[in-house]
């Protein structure tokens, strides 16, 4: 069969993008998709470990988690969430443009996705800077300076008897350990995603894609959507509750 398809004149009607070990574009496309979904499944399990760690320590030190999450800026976190959602939209639109053989639009939407990704990292940088300033660092480096006159009441007014906080609860450094590892690992995924998207953008500019072959755009967008998915869960767990 394989030698037949090598000589099969029909193969020539597809471009050089149809790799020799695939018989048809559909086969190539479906293989690529399956490969990507398997990778995404691994990513889900990868982050699941950290989410379970979050769960365990939350059960053990609930007051530390409440106090720790009150130190995070919901507005910045909320803006970051919207930035990533918009970037998911532009990524889906990039795939759509590639599917519709609109090369310029594809580049535009990929560019927009990259810009959103950078915005996310910039906002994250400011968030981290605020944490460093206040000494809210993980583990042994936790030396908070946010104590005086801070109230949790305006955020979670129903916390019984805690109108004014004069000291963060013990084990709050555990919350920040988990915060930095989770958001840091997610941030690394965003950075890698930027690299991948830039590569796909360059390939698109080079004219690698056409109406029959836009698989890499689809695959890269799938990775990017997963980065968004992780943040959709990170945001409420770390910032809101």
């Amino acid at each position: 069969m394989a030698s037949e398809s090598h000589d099969d004149p029909d193969r020539d009607k597809w471009g050089p993008w149809l790799q020799h070990h695939f018989e048809t574009p559909v086969q190539q496309f479906e293989s690529a998709k399956l490969g990507m979904w398997l990778f995404l499944a691994q990513e889900v399990l990868f982050f699941a470990g950290l989410f379970v760690a979050y769960g365990v320590y939350r059960v053990n030190y609930p007051e530390a988690f409440v106090a720790g999450s009150a130190q995070l800026n919901r507005v910045m976190g909320g803006i970051n969430t919207c930035v990533l959602l918009v970037s998911s939209f532009t990524a889906a639109m990039a795939v759509r443009s590639a599917q519709s053989d609109k090369r310029r639009h594809t580049s535009m939407f990929l560019g927009a996705t990259i810009v959103c990704a950078f915005m996310f990292l910039v906002i994250k940088y400011f968030e981290y800077e605020a944490k460093f300033e206040h000494g809210l660092l993980p583990g042994n480096h936790f030396h908070p300076t946010v104590l005086a006159n801070q109230t949790l009441a305006h955020i979670q007014p129903w916390i019984a008897g805690q109108e004014t906080v004069t000291a963060l609860p013990p084990k709050t450094h555990v919350f920040f350990g988990i915060y930095f590892v989770l958001t840091g690992l997610h941030g690394i995924h965003v950075a890698v995603g930027i690299g991948v998207l830039i590569w796909i953008l360059l390939r698109n500019q080079r004219g690698d894609f056409n109406k029959d072959y836009w698989t890499p755009v689809d695959i890269a967008a799938l990775y990017w959507h997963l980065v968004d998915l992780v943040w959709i869960y990170l945001f409420p767990l770390l910032y809101l509750i």
Partner: protein, 313 residues
Amino acid sequence: MADHSDHDIPDDGGVHVHVHSPKFYGGILSALLFLTCLTVASSYVDIDGLVALGRPVEGVGAWNLGVAILIATTKASLVVLFFMHLKEDKRFNALVFVGAILFAGVFFALTLGDTATRGLTGDRYNGVTIDPDTGLRAPGGVPGPIVGEVLEEGLAVAPPDGAALFTAICGACHTIGGGVLVGPDLAGVTSRRTEAWLLSFISSSQTMIASGDETAVALFEQFNRTPMPDVAYSEAQIRAVLAHIETVGGSATAAPGGEAVEDIVDAILGDDTEEPVDEPPADTFIEDILNDGEEPVVVEELAPPEPTPDPVR
């Protein structure tokens, strides 16, 4: 990948997909942004309080958590089904992804099922370190006392290890002969203070300070009002720590030679009459605290303030 909707799909081996309109994707984005606003807004509302008729809840309750996760899952579903096209994709890809989520769920459920229910069983051996039947420490277990352990009377346990007890808690802030750390250098402390005072101060320094004990208050002021946390050691354990301090730190620096040795002997043997061991006279009090084995510091006494005249009636 082909979708079996409106038009005929040419069977030429090429990839044919249903291309959604920009409006469609825009609609999904709008829904996602709306749900984001919803989840942020709901985090400011005490849903547990509403549900449980205003009962005050410590920390964040289950309903807020539940609503947050529900909204997050809705958003995630929208992204997965429509942005990632899983709805139109081959069933096997969906199986792979959903399978991963299910396994993550098992991981989560079983781990938290353990963590959240620790100590809740009626198993008489659950969480014990002393065998309830024989009163002996669990076989193959800890060689010395467990820090902070409250021992019941009559249980057969090893005598407290003063060095280990010191390292476990005291060593964080005190040295013995190594200078001031966070709290004072404890070398010779058993000659400076009575055993009763030390037992009380170590157990709860803040209680002593609150009750107005002069020495305790002066120490508190001297060390920048850094509170010494209450030490949950039994009397026997504290005595073991003090004995360890004497072994390592030797005699006090205030009195030279034989007098100091006598003081130590008195301290070790314990004083039945609870007589204070050579309490320093009041006017060298501050200097003694400041000394701690280093260059003697002399504190000049301030001239007493002018007596205020009686108010004119």
